[in-house]
Symmetry: C2
Amino acid sequence: MDRLLGNIKITVNEKTYIKDPESSDLGKRIVEYSILMIDEIGFENFTFKKLGNQIGSNESSIYRYFESKQKLLMYLSSWYWGWLEYKLVFATNGISDVKEKLTKAIEIVTMTTVKDSVFSHINEILLNNIVINEFSKSYLTKEVDAKNKEGYFSVYKRLVRRLGEMIIDIDETYPYPLSMASTILEGSLHQHFLKEHFASLTDCHKDKQPTKYFVDLVFTRLNSNSHV
Amino acid sequence: MDRLLGNIKITVNEKTYIKDPESSDLGKRIVEYSILMIDEIGFENFTFKKLGNQIGSNESSIYRYFESKQKLLMYLSSWYWGWLEYKLVFATNGISDVKEKLTKAIEIVTMTTVKDSVFSHINEILLNNIVINEFSKSYLTKEVDAKNKEGYFSVYKRLVRRLGEMIIDIDETYPYPLSMASTILEGSLHQHFLKEHFASLTDCHKDKQPTKYFVDLVFTRLNSNSHV
DNA sequence: CAAATATAATAGTATTACTATCATGATACG
DNA sequence: CGTATCATGATAGTAATACTATTATATTTG
């Protein structure tokens, strides 16, 4: 999809930032290096001060763009989900066969990012790692409901619902399309994490990726006639 | 199971604590009130100082029992998984029918805790909430591999493997028993979370609990003849 | 060229997650 | 019974965090 995306910009909820990081050079460097740093040292150890040092800028300047590191994480993950949604819609758009369509969709959302540097300052592979390791932390807080009301998770939610609709398109009698959709998304992140850190808790590894596991599980259920 | 557990003690990896909280009155109060507080204000906002105030004790005294709040969270979640494992083994032990056995197992691990105060100072219902909301934070860190090596997750891992074995017992040709087991455990926590905070991303609610969703999904797959 | 704007530098604050030290009160044991 | 040991408490201190506020300087724009 390299060529095609040349003039696309992924839109992110404006509340995640004070000043749009896409609007300046410093902003882009903040995003670029925050991805590198969070991937490297983890979200807990990541601070705006360290980031400032890394990019030869000042802590206080970073605060002009992002209110807090939580909001920056929101920005990054929203960007990721928006980007994934774009890839999903783009790849499944022309497909009329509903099963083929869902298969493609599952492939897109469960696959590890390989290389896709259309957005020069965003390393999608590392961003994928960050989502695997840190995304849960953006909603596992006491502020979820407030954040949710303000729309911080809307892209992610839309993605789950899109998947859910594709599931319904295959079997409108299946009683758990949304749970299945959310299981695919979240479960895939989890399987990727296990692959890296708890290999004894997953059957997924190099040749046997989460994608296959989920495609098998989902289609066995949707092709079955069991109406529970 | 009330009567039967009277003299049972759930064993937790000794590395999680400095001094066994079960060994003293203060220790038990620390555990009891940390559960109440973490549930109420969330792990991020929870501090040993606040806990000290709550129980009329001193911050420094709490540090005699737990090295850090991370370790306390480890202690609490290990206790929870140990307790769940006990319930699982206890409830499935006599069952010879493999399908009935797995059904029972899924029920145990995916169901919300109702009331089970055999351990007077531990509120299992709130602890269940804590596991839903905070457990991921104990492994989504840069220290996972080190912590894992030291055995902090052994009970949880054993639980996943037990489930995995029950799956194999039903269909030894199924290629993803461990992934299915880990999906049940983690996915169930996730569905419970969604129920509370993102109702639009799940089909689970009062009458339609995660248990049913997982039993249906798992057995449709294991009863099928599709060998992928 | 002046005004506005972006960034940098510096300082300061409350809180956190501890560590260290010393005091006190309870208990155990010889 | 007296003393040593141990558990707990009180206080102080530290480095780091997650910011806010203020002022200075450099850059852009009108």
